[in-house]
Symmetry: C2
Subunit: 210 residues, 2 copies
DNA sequence: TCATCTGTTGACCATATAGTTAAGTTTTTT
DNA sequence: AAAAAACTTAACTATATGGTCAACAGATGA
Protein backbone atom coordinates (compact mmCIF):
# COMPACT_ATOMS: atom_id res chain seq x y z
CA UNK A 1 0.00 0.00 0.00
CA UNK A 2 2.67 2.43 1.08
CA UNK A 3 4.63 1.23 -1.91
CA UNK A 4 1.80 1.61 -4.39
CA UNK A 5 1.01 5.05 -3.07
CA UNK A 6 4.54 6.20 -3.69
CA UNK A 7 4.62 4.75 -7.16
CA UNK A 8 1.36 6.48 -7.89
CA UNK A 9 2.71 9.76 -6.58
CA UNK A 10 5.84 9.82 -8.72
CA UNK A 11 3.83 8.41 -11.56
CA UNK A 12 1.47 11.33 -11.26
CA UNK A 13 4.22 13.88 -11.60
CA UNK A 14 5.46 12.07 -14.65
CA UNK A 15 2.04 11.79 -16.22
CA UNK A 16 1.12 15.34 -15.37
CA UNK A 17 4.25 16.74 -16.97
CA UNK A 18 4.00 14.46 -19.96
CA UNK A 19 0.41 15.46 -20.50
CA UNK A 20 1.21 19.14 -20.23
CA UNK A 21 3.98 18.64 -22.78
CA UNK A 22 1.79 16.65 -25.15
CA UNK A 23 -0.97 19.23 -25.06
CA UNK A 24 1.48 22.04 -25.74
CA UNK A 25 3.16 19.99 -28.44
CA UNK A 26 -0.14 19.20 -30.18
CA UNK A 27 -0.96 22.87 -30.40
CA UNK A 28 2.47 23.75 -31.70
CA UNK A 29 2.50 20.95 -34.26
CA UNK A 30 -0.87 22.07 -35.59
CA UNK A 31 0.08 25.73 -35.65
CA UNK A 32 3.60 25.40 -37.01
CA UNK A 33 3.91 21.94 -38.50
CA UNK A 34 6.51 19.39 -37.44
CA UNK A 35 9.58 21.37 -38.40
CA UNK A 36 8.11 24.70 -37.42
CA UNK A 37 7.32 23.57 -33.91
CA UNK A 38 10.55 24.00 -31.95
CA UNK A 39 11.32 22.27 -28.70
CA UNK A 40 11.68 25.75 -27.24
CA UNK A 41 8.21 26.80 -28.41
CA UNK A 42 6.72 23.65 -26.93
CA UNK A 43 8.59 24.34 -23.71
CA UNK A 44 7.33 27.91 -23.61
CA UNK A 45 3.76 26.84 -24.19
CA UNK A 46 4.05 24.19 -21.47
CA UNK A 47 5.78 26.63 -19.14
CA UNK A 48 8.75 24.34 -18.63
CA UNK A 49 12.43 24.72 -19.43
CA UNK A 50 13.50 23.09 -22.64
CA UNK A 51 15.82 20.65 -20.94
CA UNK A 52 12.90 19.39 -18.91
CA UNK A 53 10.98 18.58 -22.05
CA UNK A 54 13.92 16.56 -23.27
CA UNK A 55 14.14 14.79 -19.95
CA UNK A 56 10.67 13.31 -20.49
CA UNK A 57 10.96 12.76 -24.22
CA UNK A 58 14.36 11.84 -25.58
CA UNK A 59 13.92 14.04 -28.65
CA UNK A 60 11.49 16.00 -30.75
CA UNK A 61 10.52 13.05 -32.88
CA UNK A 62 9.52 11.12 -29.79
CA UNK A 63 7.23 13.93 -28.76
CA UNK A 64 5.65 13.79 -32.17
CA UNK A 65 5.25 10.03 -31.99
CA UNK A 66 3.49 10.36 -28.66
CA UNK A 67 1.18 13.01 -30.09
CA UNK A 68 0.39 10.83 -33.07
CA UNK A 69 -0.31 7.85 -30.84
CA UNK A 70 -2.76 9.94 -28.88
CA UNK A 71 -4.32 11.08 -32.14
CA UNK A 72 -4.78 7.54 -33.37
CA UNK A 73 -6.37 6.56 -30.10
CA UNK A 74 -8.86 9.39 -30.59
CA UNK A 75 -9.50 8.21 -34.13
CA UNK A 76 -10.12 4.72 -32.90
CA UNK A 77 -12.44 5.74 -30.11
CA UNK A 78 -14.26 8.30 -32.19
CA UNK A 79 -14.91 6.17 -35.20
CA UNK A 80 -18.05 4.74 -33.64
CA UNK A 81 -18.57 1.17 -34.54
CA UNK A 82 -20.83 0.00 -37.31
CA UNK A 83 -22.76 -3.06 -36.16
CA UNK A 84 -24.56 -5.54 -38.38
CA UNK A 85 -27.52 -5.71 -36.04
CA UNK A 86 -28.15 -1.96 -36.25
CA UNK A 87 -29.27 -2.06 -39.84
CA UNK A 88 -28.14 0.58 -42.32
CA UNK A 89 -30.14 3.51 -41.01
CA UNK A 90 -29.13 3.33 -37.37
CA UNK A 91 -25.60 2.38 -38.34
CA UNK A 92 -25.12 5.47 -40.51
CA UNK A 93 -26.80 7.66 -37.91
CA UNK A 94 -24.48 6.42 -35.18
CA UNK A 95 -21.43 6.69 -37.40
CA UNK A 96 -22.11 10.29 -38.41
CA UNK A 97 -23.02 11.22 -34.86
CA UNK A 98 -19.79 9.84 -33.46
CA UNK A 99 -17.59 11.42 -36.12
CA UNK A 100 -19.17 14.87 -35.86
CA UNK A 101 -18.96 14.90 -32.08
CA UNK A 102 -15.34 13.85 -32.31
CA UNK A 103 -14.60 16.64 -34.77
CA UNK A 104 -16.05 19.28 -32.51
CA UNK A 105 -14.55 17.85 -29.34
CA UNK A 106 -11.03 17.13 -30.55
CA UNK A 107 -10.31 19.32 -33.54
CA UNK A 108 -6.54 19.27 -32.88
CA UNK A 109 -6.46 15.50 -33.25
CA UNK A 110 -8.28 15.71 -36.52
CA UNK A 111 -5.96 18.47 -37.70
CA UNK A 112 -2.78 16.63 -36.83
CA UNK A 113 -4.11 13.55 -38.52
CA UNK A 114 -5.08 15.54 -41.60
CA UNK A 115 -1.68 17.17 -41.87
CA UNK A 116 0.03 13.83 -41.59
CA UNK A 117 -2.03 12.42 -44.45
CA UNK A 118 -1.68 15.50 -46.62
CA UNK A 119 2.09 15.42 -46.23
CA UNK A 120 2.21 11.83 -47.39
CA UNK A 121 1.42 9.89 -44.22
CA UNK A 122 5.10 9.18 -43.55
CA UNK A 123 4.34 8.12 -40.00
CA UNK A 124 0.91 6.63 -40.62
CA UNK A 125 1.37 4.53 -43.72
CA UNK A 126 1.45 1.32 -41.74
CA UNK A 127 -1.65 2.30 -39.84
CA UNK A 128 -3.55 2.98 -43.05
CA UNK A 129 -2.16 -0.08 -44.77
CA UNK A 130 -3.14 -2.51 -42.08
CA UNK A 131 -5.68 -1.34 -39.57
CA UNK A 132 -7.61 1.19 -41.58
CA UNK A 133 -7.73 -0.77 -44.79
CA UNK A 134 -9.12 -3.72 -42.89
CA UNK A 135 -11.69 -1.54 -41.15
CA UNK A 136 -12.92 -0.07 -44.41
CA UNK A 137 -13.08 -3.48 -46.09
CA UNK A 138 -15.12 -4.90 -43.26
CA UNK A 139 -17.57 -2.05 -43.08
CA UNK A 140 -17.87 -1.86 -46.84
CA UNK A 141 -18.79 -5.52 -46.89
CA UNK A 142 -21.43 -4.88 -44.29
CA UNK A 143 -22.96 -2.08 -46.37
CA UNK A 144 -22.81 -4.34 -49.40
CA UNK A 145 -24.83 -6.98 -47.59
CA UNK A 146 -27.47 -4.44 -46.71
CA UNK A 147 -27.52 -3.36 -50.35
CA UNK A 148 -27.83 -6.95 -51.53
CA UNK A 149 -30.69 -7.47 -49.08
CA UNK A 150 -32.43 -4.45 -50.52
CA UNK A 151 -32.18 -2.64 -47.22
CA UNK A 152 -30.52 0.37 -48.81
CA UNK A 153 -29.85 1.85 -52.21
CA UNK A 154 -26.97 0.62 -54.32
CA UNK A 155 -24.25 3.14 -53.56
CA UNK A 156 -20.52 2.43 -53.49
CA UNK A 157 -19.83 1.62 -49.81
CA UNK A 158 -16.19 2.69 -49.89
CA UNK A 159 -17.03 6.10 -51.32
CA UNK A 160 -19.84 6.34 -48.82
CA UNK A 161 -17.33 5.92 -46.02
CA UNK A 162 -15.07 8.54 -47.61
CA UNK A 163 -18.04 10.89 -47.86
CA UNK A 164 -18.85 10.52 -44.19
CA UNK A 165 -15.23 10.93 -43.16
CA UNK A 166 -14.67 14.01 -45.28
CA UNK A 167 -17.88 15.82 -44.51
CA UNK A 168 -17.59 15.29 -40.76
CA UNK A 169 -13.87 15.98 -40.36
CA UNK A 170 -14.25 19.14 -42.39
CA UNK A 171 -15.74 20.91 -39.40
CA UNK A 172 -12.59 20.23 -37.40
CA UNK A 173 -9.94 20.73 -40.04
CA UNK A 174 -11.45 23.78 -41.72
CA UNK A 175 -12.75 25.28 -38.49
CA UNK A 176 -10.98 28.57 -39.21
CA UNK A 177 -12.49 28.91 -42.64
CA UNK A 178 -15.96 27.91 -41.55
CA UNK A 179 -16.02 30.30 -38.61
CA UNK A 180 -14.70 33.13 -40.77
CA UNK A 181 -17.29 32.53 -43.45
CA UNK A 182 -20.09 32.29 -40.90
CA UNK A 183 -18.66 35.40 -39.22
CA UNK A 184 -18.44 33.73 -35.85
CA UNK A 185 -15.73 33.57 -33.19
CA UNK A 186 -16.37 30.03 -31.97
CA UNK A 187 -18.56 27.05 -32.47
CA UNK A 188 -21.51 26.75 -30.12
CA UNK A 189 -23.06 23.60 -28.71
CA UNK A 190 -26.03 23.79 -31.03
CA UNK A 191 -23.75 23.79 -34.07
CA UNK A 192 -22.91 20.17 -33.35
CA UNK A 193 -26.56 19.21 -33.48
CA UNK A 194 -27.20 21.27 -36.59
CA UNK A 195 -24.36 19.59 -38.42
CA UNK A 196 -25.35 16.13 -37.27
CA UNK A 197 -28.92 16.53 -38.42
CA UNK A 198 -27.91 18.17 -41.71
CA UNK A 199 -25.40 15.49 -42.64
CA UNK A 200 -27.53 12.61 -41.39
CA UNK A 201 -30.46 13.87 -43.38
CA UNK A 202 -28.47 14.37 -46.57
CA UNK A 203 -26.64 11.09 -46.44
CA UNK A 204 -29.56 8.94 -45.38
CA UNK A 205 -31.53 10.34 -48.31
CA UNK A 206 -28.59 9.68 -50.57
CA UNK A 207 -28.74 6.07 -49.42
CA UNK A 208 -32.48 5.91 -49.93
CA UNK A 209 -33.12 5.51 -46.22
CA UNK A 210 -35.40 8.49 -45.70
CA UNK B 1 9.60 43.94 -83.16
CA UNK B 2 13.21 43.31 -82.37
CA UNK B 3 12.57 44.95 -79.06
CA UNK B 4 9.49 42.94 -78.16
CA UNK B 5 11.24 39.74 -79.21
CA UNK B 6 14.09 40.43 -76.86
CA UNK B 7 11.81 41.37 -74.02
CA UNK B 8 9.91 38.20 -74.61
CA UNK B 9 13.14 36.22 -74.60
CA UNK B 10 14.40 37.52 -71.28
CA UNK B 11 10.90 37.40 -69.93
CA UNK B 12 10.80 33.75 -70.86
CA UNK B 13 13.97 32.94 -69.00
CA UNK B 14 12.63 34.72 -65.95
CA UNK B 15 9.24 33.06 -66.18
CA UNK B 16 10.73 29.67 -66.91
CA UNK B 17 13.01 29.81 -63.89
CA UNK B 18 10.32 31.24 -61.67
CA UNK B 19 7.92 28.53 -62.75
CA UNK B 20 10.46 25.81 -62.14
CA UNK B 21 11.06 27.26 -58.71
CA UNK B 22 7.38 27.57 -57.89
CA UNK B 23 6.67 24.00 -58.90
CA UNK B 24 9.55 22.72 -56.82
CA UNK B 25 8.52 24.93 -53.93
CA UNK B 26 4.91 23.73 -54.04
CA UNK B 27 6.04 20.16 -53.76
CA UNK B 28 8.41 20.93 -50.92
CA UNK B 29 5.86 22.98 -49.02
CA UNK B 30 3.33 20.17 -49.26
CA UNK B 31 5.83 17.50 -48.30
CA UNK B 32 7.62 19.36 -45.51
CA UNK B 33 5.43 22.29 -44.53
CA UNK B 34 6.56 25.90 -44.60
CA UNK B 35 9.35 25.60 -42.06
CA UNK B 36 10.38 22.14 -43.17
CA UNK B 37 10.85 23.18 -46.77
CA UNK B 38 14.34 24.67 -46.94
CA UNK B 39 15.54 26.98 -49.66
CA UNK B 40 18.19 24.37 -50.34
CA UNK B 41 15.63 21.60 -50.77
CA UNK B 42 13.66 23.76 -53.17
CA UNK B 43 16.86 24.52 -55.05
CA UNK B 44 17.74 20.85 -55.26
CA UNK B 45 14.31 19.93 -56.54
CA UNK B 46 14.46 22.71 -59.11
CA UNK B 47 18.02 21.77 -60.06
CA UNK B 48 19.31 25.25 -59.41
CA UNK B 49 21.84 26.61 -56.95
CA UNK B 50 20.34 28.11 -53.84
CA UNK B 51 21.61 31.60 -54.56
CA UNK B 52 19.80 31.53 -57.85
CA UNK B 53 16.51 30.87 -56.10
CA UNK B 54 17.13 33.89 -53.93
CA UNK B 55 17.95 35.97 -56.95
CA UNK B 56 14.44 35.45 -58.29
CA UNK B 57 12.63 35.57 -54.98
CA UNK B 58 14.05 37.86 -52.33
CA UNK B 59 13.40 35.35 -49.56
CA UNK B 60 11.61 32.19 -48.59
CA UNK B 61 8.44 33.95 -47.56
CA UNK B 62 8.15 35.54 -50.98
CA UNK B 63 8.35 32.12 -52.57
CA UNK B 64 5.53 30.99 -50.33
CA UNK B 65 3.44 34.04 -51.17
CA UNK B 66 3.87 33.33 -54.85
CA UNK B 67 2.84 29.71 -54.33
CA UNK B 68 -0.22 30.77 -52.37
CA UNK B 69 -1.21 33.26 -55.04
CA UNK B 70 -1.05 30.53 -57.61
CA UNK B 71 -3.12 28.32 -55.32
CA UNK B 72 -5.82 30.93 -54.93
CA UNK B 73 -5.95 31.41 -58.67
CA UNK B 74 -6.57 27.67 -59.01
CA UNK B 75 -9.27 27.87 -56.35
CA UNK B 76 -10.93 30.70 -58.19
CA UNK B 77 -10.82 29.03 -61.57
CA UNK B 78 -11.82 25.66 -60.26
CA UNK B 79 -14.77 26.72 -58.20
CA UNK B 80 -17.06 26.57 -61.20
CA UNK B 81 -19.70 29.22 -61.15
CA UNK B 82 -23.22 28.71 -59.91
CA UNK B 83 -25.63 30.48 -62.19
CA UNK B 84 -29.22 31.38 -61.39
CA UNK B 85 -30.42 30.35 -64.84
CA UNK B 86 -29.07 26.82 -64.44
CA UNK B 87 -31.59 25.86 -61.82
CA UNK B 88 -30.57 23.85 -58.75
CA UNK B 89 -29.95 20.52 -60.44
CA UNK B 90 -27.63 21.68 -63.19
CA UNK B 91 -25.97 24.14 -60.85
CA UNK B 92 -25.07 21.46 -58.32
CA UNK B 93 -23.98 19.09 -61.07
CA UNK B 94 -21.66 21.70 -62.56
CA UNK B 95 -20.31 22.71 -59.17
CA UNK B 96 -19.45 19.17 -58.13
CA UNK B 97 -18.03 18.38 -61.54
CA UNK B 98 -15.71 21.39 -61.46
CA UNK B 99 -14.53 20.78 -57.91
CA UNK B 100 -13.82 17.08 -58.40
CA UNK B 101 -11.89 17.67 -61.62
CA UNK B 102 -9.90 20.37 -59.90
CA UNK B 103 -9.08 18.03 -57.03
CA UNK B 104 -7.77 15.34 -59.32
CA UNK B 105 -5.94 17.76 -61.61
CA UNK B 106 -4.27 19.99 -59.02
CA UNK B 107 -4.03 18.07 -55.76
CA UNK B 108 -1.00 20.11 -54.60
CA UNK B 109 -2.99 23.32 -54.76
CA UNK B 110 -5.73 21.77 -52.70
CA UNK B 111 -3.19 20.43 -50.23
CA UNK B 112 -1.38 23.72 -49.77
CA UNK B 113 -4.69 25.44 -49.31
CA UNK B 114 -5.82 22.85 -46.79
CA UNK B 115 -2.61 23.11 -44.79
CA UNK B 116 -2.93 26.87 -44.67
CA UNK B 117 -6.46 26.67 -43.30
CA UNK B 118 -5.65 23.91 -40.82
CA UNK B 119 -2.76 25.93 -39.45
CA UNK B 120 -5.02 28.88 -38.84
CA UNK B 121 -5.11 30.58 -42.23
CA UNK B 122 -2.46 33.11 -41.23
CA UNK B 123 -1.92 34.12 -44.83
CA UNK B 124 -5.46 33.59 -46.07
CA UNK B 125 -7.63 35.19 -43.42
CA UNK B 126 -8.27 38.24 -45.56
CA UNK B 127 -9.16 36.09 -48.52
CA UNK B 128 -11.70 34.13 -46.50
CA UNK B 129 -13.04 37.19 -44.76
CA UNK B 130 -13.72 39.14 -47.91
CA UNK B 131 -13.82 37.22 -51.13
CA UNK B 132 -14.89 33.80 -49.89
CA UNK B 133 -17.47 34.99 -47.40
CA UNK B 134 -19.09 37.06 -50.10
CA UNK B 135 -19.05 34.14 -52.51
CA UNK B 136 -20.73 31.83 -50.01
CA UNK B 137 -23.34 34.43 -49.07
CA UNK B 138 -24.25 35.00 -52.70
CA UNK B 139 -24.51 31.35 -53.58
CA UNK B 140 -26.38 30.51 -50.40
CA UNK B 141 -28.93 33.17 -51.29
CA UNK B 142 -29.33 31.64 -54.69
CA UNK B 143 -29.99 28.21 -53.18
CA UNK B 144 -32.42 29.80 -50.75
CA UNK B 145 -34.40 31.26 -53.62
CA UNK B 146 -34.64 27.87 -55.26
CA UNK B 147 -35.80 26.45 -51.96
CA UNK B 148 -38.38 29.20 -51.54
CA UNK B 149 -39.60 28.52 -55.06
CA UNK B 150 -40.02 24.87 -54.19
CA UNK B 151 -37.40 23.89 -56.74
CA UNK B 152 -35.40 21.96 -54.19
CA UNK B 153 -35.71 20.57 -50.70
CA UNK B 154 -35.21 22.82 -47.69
CA UNK B 155 -31.59 22.14 -46.76
CA UNK B 156 -29.20 24.63 -45.21
CA UNK B 157 -27.42 26.16 -48.23
CA UNK B 158 -24.26 27.08 -46.35
CA UNK B 159 -23.80 23.57 -45.00
CA UNK B 160 -24.59 22.27 -48.47
CA UNK B 161 -21.67 24.27 -49.83
CA UNK B 162 -19.44 22.96 -47.06
CA UNK B 163 -20.53 19.43 -47.88
CA UNK B 164 -19.63 19.84 -51.52
CA UNK B 165 -16.30 21.44 -50.71
CA UNK B 166 -15.31 18.82 -48.17
CA UNK B 167 -16.38 15.76 -50.09
CA UNK B 168 -14.71 16.87 -53.31
CA UNK B 169 -11.46 18.21 -51.86
CA UNK B 170 -11.08 15.05 -49.83
CA UNK B 171 -9.89 13.19 -52.91
CA UNK B 172 -7.01 15.63 -53.31
CA UNK B 173 -6.04 16.20 -49.70
CA UNK B 174 -6.38 12.60 -48.51
CA UNK B 175 -5.09 11.10 -51.74
CA UNK B 176 -2.47 9.08 -49.86
CA UNK B 177 -4.99 7.56 -47.49
CA UNK B 178 -7.54 6.81 -50.19
CA UNK B 179 -5.01 5.15 -52.46
CA UNK B 180 -3.61 3.10 -49.59
CA UNK B 181 -7.04 1.95 -48.50
CA UNK B 182 -8.03 1.08 -52.06
CA UNK B 183 -4.65 -0.61 -52.47
CA UNK B 184 -3.76 1.36 -55.54
CA UNK B 185 -0.66 3.22 -56.66
CA UNK B 186 -2.34 6.07 -58.50
CA UNK B 187 -5.68 7.47 -59.47
CA UNK B 188 -6.90 6.56 -62.93
CA UNK B 189 -8.98 8.64 -65.31
CA UNK B 190 -12.11 6.67 -64.61
CA UNK B 191 -11.83 7.40 -60.89
CA UNK B 192 -12.73 11.01 -61.61
CA UNK B 193 -15.93 9.96 -63.31
CA UNK B 194 -16.79 7.47 -60.60
CA UNK B 195 -16.40 10.09 -57.90
CA UNK B 196 -18.35 12.71 -59.83
CA UNK B 197 -21.27 10.40 -60.40
CA UNK B 198 -21.23 9.06 -56.84
CA UNK B 199 -21.17 12.50 -55.22
CA UNK B 200 -23.62 14.04 -57.68
CA UNK B 201 -26.03 11.20 -57.13
CA UNK B 202 -25.79 11.35 -53.32
CA UNK B 203 -26.05 15.10 -53.04
CA UNK B 204 -28.79 15.59 -55.62
CA UNK B 205 -30.84 13.01 -53.76
CA UNK B 206 -30.09 14.75 -50.52
CA UNK B 207 -31.49 17.91 -52.06
CA UNK B 208 -34.53 16.07 -53.36
CA UNK B 209 -33.50 16.60 -56.95
CA UNK B 210 -33.41 13.00 -58.08
C1' DT C 1 21.30 10.06 8.70
C1' DC C 2 22.86 8.40 4.54
C1' DA C 3 22.16 6.57 -0.11
C1' DT C 4 19.47 6.33 -4.08
C1' DC C 5 16.27 7.43 -7.28
C1' DT C 6 13.54 10.98 -9.69
C1' DG C 7 13.21 15.23 -11.39
C1' DT C 8 15.08 20.25 -12.65
C1' DT C 9 17.71 23.39 -15.13
C1' DG C 10 21.42 26.72 -16.99
C1' DA C 11 25.16 26.48 -19.94
C1' DC C 12 27.04 24.64 -23.76
C1' DC C 13 27.93 22.66 -28.61
C1' DA C 14 27.53 21.09 -33.33
C1' DT C 15 24.91 21.73 -37.08
C1' DA C 16 21.50 23.47 -40.31
C1' DT C 17 19.57 27.26 -42.41
C1' DA C 18 18.15 31.94 -44.35
C1' DG C 19 20.13 35.31 -46.42
C1' DT C 20 24.41 38.30 -48.25
C1' DT C 21 28.18 39.35 -51.03
C1' DA C 22 31.29 39.70 -54.45
C1' DA C 23 33.21 37.94 -58.38
C1' DG C 24 32.11 36.22 -62.22
C1' DT C 25 29.48 34.97 -67.12
C1' DT C 26 26.13 35.73 -70.54
C1' DT C 27 22.87 38.47 -72.95
C1' DT C 28 21.11 42.75 -74.57
C1' DT C 29 21.56 47.45 -76.00
C1' DT C 30 23.75 51.22 -78.22
C1' DA D 1 32.74 46.56 -80.13
C1' DA D 2 31.96 48.57 -75.88
C1' DA D 3 28.89 49.42 -72.13
C1' DA D 4 25.15 48.03 -69.50
C1' DA D 5 22.02 44.98 -67.82
C1' DA D 6 20.60 40.47 -66.50
C1' DC D 7 21.83 36.29 -64.67
C1' DT D 8 24.79 32.68 -62.14
C1' DT D 9 27.06 30.89 -58.31
C1' DA D 10 30.73 29.71 -54.65
C1' DA D 11 31.87 31.23 -50.36
C1' DC D 12 30.63 33.33 -46.31
C1' DT D 13 27.94 34.98 -42.02
C1' DA D 14 24.75 35.32 -38.32
C1' DT D 15 21.45 33.01 -36.05
C1' DA D 16 18.28 29.41 -34.58
C1' DT D 17 17.76 24.89 -33.20
C1' DG D 18 18.15 19.99 -31.51
C1' DG D 19 20.32 17.81 -28.28
C1' DT D 20 23.94 16.98 -24.30
C1' DC D 21 25.81 17.53 -19.83
C1' DA D 22 26.89 18.30 -15.33
C1' DA D 23 25.54 20.25 -11.22
C1' DC D 24 21.84 20.53 -8.24
C1' DA D 25 17.21 19.76 -5.57
C1' DG D 26 13.75 16.94 -3.53
C1' DA D 27 11.62 12.95 -2.30
C1' DT D 28 11.94 7.95 -0.69
C1' DG D 29 13.61 4.05 1.75
C1' DA D 30 16.89 1.73 4.93
Amino acid sequence: MNNSKEIKKTGNIRLQSQNKILMAASTEFVLQGYRGATVQSIADRANLPKANILYYFKNKENIYHAVLEHTLQMWDEGIGDINPEDGPKAAIEKFIDAKVRMSFKHPESSKIYAMEIIQGAQHLKDFARTYQRKWVREKAQLFQQWIDNGEMRDVDPVHLIFLIWSSTQHYADFETQILTIMNRADYEDEDVETVISFLTDMILRGCGLK
